[in-house]
């Protein structure tokens, strides 16, 4: 329901910035369940307005604001007349095939699992 599809490669997201998107979402990045999790605040963006792309070790988060206000503005503290854009360079330890994302209450969660090879392997030492 809240899942966001992650597009790989074919989008060709090579530009490191998008001049039309001026909003930079704040993020939390932390280690979780054998990988990394990225949380991004994207208020005003619904599930269909967010795109998560992976290309060339580059993770791109983009969000189009779909909020439609009612009435005439009489006091303004924020403006979402644009879109969100932010990119991160992925470590080679991340398994790019297994990246998943979901959107909930304006917060995007991207899960970046580590590849099996990157995980530490326990070697049993036998004593005779």
């Amino acid at each position: 329901m809240n899942e966001v599809s992650v597009s790989k490669g074919e989008r060709g997201v090579s530009a490191t910035r998008d001049e039309t998107c001026s909003l930079v979402p704040p993020v939390d990045i932390f280690e979780h369940e054998g990988g990394l999790a990225v949380l991004a605040d994207l208020p005003g963006v619904d599930r269909d307005g967010v795109s998560v792309g992976v290309d060339n070790d580059l993770l791109t988060i983009k969000g189009n604001v779909s909020y439609e206000p009612k009435g005439d503005l009489i006091h303004r503290e924020w403006d979402l007349a644009s879109c969100y854009f932010r990119q991160f360079r992925l470590s080679e330890r991340i398994d790019q095939e297994k990246i998943s994302a979901e959107m909930r209450e304006g917060v995007l969660t991207v899960r970046l699992p580590e590849s099996e090879q990157a995980k530490p392997k326990r070697i049993e030492v036998k004593t005779s």
Partner: protein, 155 residues
């Protein structure tokens, strides 16, 4: 005398350097609303969430920019013509230790904010809707609050 002026100039140059260096670390140069969507502790917390106010003939609309709220903990109350919003920006799960963090920009905490609407509203008919991280509060204007049109006859 000349030496003193040079020294002052040097000091001023140094001060500019330091200020520029500090700016790089402050939130100042991050693009809006980067720094402002985040819940910032201290004084900035009093301005959370950011609110826009709109109105039409019948209603006042307060739009609060607040992603990741816990709806259950949200308290909205109206007293006179002031609106009070209290709630909590949910922290990331509690079992994540500080060492596990690579970046922490969103932060989370409880907040309370009161704003004056400057218009009388019908308290019993206030409604709120939370969608995509934006809290929209609709406050119907009371009869007193609605602008009355007065026709002035000119002789």
């Amino acid at each position: 005398m000349l030496g003193t002026i040079d020294a002052i100039r040097e000091l001023q140059a140094l001060r500019r350097e330091v200020e520029r260096a500090l700016e790089d670390f402050s939130l100042g140069e991050w693009t809006f609303p980067f720094s402002r969507v985040s819940f910032l502790p201290g004084l900035a917390g009093y301005a959370y969430p950011l609110m826009n106010i709109r109105e039409d003939g019948n209603n006042m609309y307060v739009e609060a920019l607040a992603p990741g709220l816990d709806k259950e903990n949200l308290e909205i109350s109206v007293m006179g013509d002031s609106l009070r919003i209290a709630g909590e920006k949910m922290p990331v799960r509690g079992d994540i230790t500080p060492e596990a963090y690579h970046r922490s920009e969103r932060s989370a905490a409880k907040f309370v904010r009161t704003i004056d609407l400057n218009t009388e509203v019908d308290r019993d008919k206030v409604s709120a809707d939370y969608h995509n991280g934006i809290l929209l509060i609709t406050l119907p204007k009371s009869e007193k609050g609605k602008a009355k049109q007065i026709t002035v006859k000119v002789d």
